[in-house]
């Protein structure tokens, strides 16, 4: 079963939750889909790393075949092409790899070539298989890397007996890269901060998972005494609260030293094990109610 962990903004605790949940499972896969700034590997420090380059397709123009009709230039909504002095200029960094220019070229002057946009690293950290996507700085979209990351998991699961758990650490927000990351998830864990601002961000991902018809629950992070607007939000809408993580300097210190709290502290191990148990129960119920 695939569990996606998401939040409306960065710094809410997606990585804290997904890294600790993945470590709490007997055997699991952790996939870091936050390809612009992957940081799960800093906690896991995986060994036996295998790396694979991720390429996208960008147009390659054969100037002997080009008749200068400019159909490609006019088609490109991202303005990745220009036609100057009887030559097509291609701006690799602006191209979104849609392939439209190639389809529209009446003389077949455009073919495609590979351009490396990042890589995928796969390694092992005790009971967790750690898969990390890394997008090169300045690239337009991490979607091709996320697609590759999630396809790895399918290959892996085919070779694994039993219901292995996969945790998908999503990018922040609710844009294309997040949609791609949760697309095939069986369950979504939304991480929320106890502030009014946190509620606004929670609402963004709450709308997204409902739009995608995903079963979901909320983990309340950084909980302190007193009013918790995110908890109120959940109560008002009858949203399942999977667990509460306290705002504690001990947890913060472990985390800022890139340590996995459940591997260091029994109390945190119990806390995350409880959340994991709730999540797996929720997923099982969901598959029974809505197979």
């Amino acid at each position: 079963m695939k569990i996606a962990v998401l939040s409306g903004k960065g710094g809410t605790g997606k990585t804290l939750v997904s890294v600790n949940l993945a470590s709490s499972a007997k055997k699991s896969t952790y996939i870091d889909c936050d390809v612009e700034e992957p940081n799960g590997h800093l906690f896991f420090k995986p060994k036996h790393i295998k790396t694979e380059d991720i390429n996208i397709k960008i147009p390659l123009v054969d100037y002997n075949l080009c008749n200068g009709c400019r159909k490609c230039v006019e088609f490109c909504k991202f303005n990745a092409l220009a036609y100057i002095k009887n030559k097509v200029m291609v701006f690799d960094d602006v191209c979104h790899s849609c392939g439209g220019c190639m389809l529209f070229c009446p003389t077949n002057a455009i073919s495609e070539k590979d351009k490396k946009i990042g890589e995928v690293q796969k390694g092992i950290s005790d009971n967790v298989t750690v898969v990390t996507g890394m997008l090169n700085t300045g690239e337009a979209s991490g979607v091709p890397i996320i697609k590759k990351l999630l396809s790895y998991n399918i290959e892996d699961n085919e070779n694994t007996v039993g219901d292995k758990l996969t945790f998908i650490d999503c990018p922040p927000g609710s844009a294309c890269v997040v949609m791609e990351s949760i697309k095939d998830a069986d369950y979504c864990v939304l991480v929320a901060e106890p502030t009014v601002f946190g509620v606004h961000n929670l609402e963004m991902v709450y709308e997204l998972v409902r739009l995608f018809n995903k079963p979901y629950g909320v983990v309340l992070n950084k909980c302190m005494d007193g009013e918790n607007p995110a908890e109120r939000f959940c109560l008002d809408r009858n949203i399942k609260v999977l667990g509460k993580i306290p705002f504690e300097s001990e947890l913060g210190t472990l985390n800022s030293n890139a340590l996995i709290s459940i591997r260091e502290n029994k109390r945190y191990k119990d806390m995350f094990s409880k959340i994991l148990q709730k999540v797996t129960e929720e997923v099982r119920n969901e598959t029974i109610v809505n197979p």
Binding site: V73, C76, F78, N79, L81, K85, M89, D93
Partner: protein, 122 residues
């Protein structure tokens, strides 16, 4: 000689636009015949690559020079490929800049910024 300038309105009293790629209009001004033509900038509402499309417009309209406060790397690549010279404007007055250009007082734009979206300037 034909010069192109990004401008905020379609009159000769208007100001030079601070943005090249997303300026609402371009003035194409012929320094010999004093003829002026205002063009809508199709790139103003582009999703991305506005500088590239705006530069294409400048080259297609056969300008010999572009007067602009600033210009990104991708746009500059297109403009340079089209053999158009880029000059830096001295202030936001359209008239002052045309006068300065006619007197040969404008300097070539030496600072091409890397773009604002991490696309240009590798």
């Amino acid at each position: 000689m034909k010069i192109a300038i990004p401008v905020n309105d379609k009159t000769m009293d208007t100001d030079v636009c601070i943005s090249f790629g997303r300026t609402p209009y371009f003035l194409i001004y012929d320094t010999e015949s004093k003829e002026s033509t205002f063009l809508d900038n199709a790139a103003a509402s582009s999703q991305g690559g506005a500088g590239i499309l705006a530069a294409q417009t400048i080259v297609d309209n056969k300008a010999d020079a572009l007067l602009t406060p600033r210009c990104g790397q991708n746009a500059a690549d297109v403009i340079n490929a089209g053999n158009v010279k880029i000059y830096k404007t001295i202030n936001d007055s359209l008239k002052d800049n045309i006068d300065a250009f006619n007197k040969g007082e404008l300097k070539l734009l030496s600072e091409i910024h890397a773009g604002f979206h991490n696309h240009g300037g590798k």
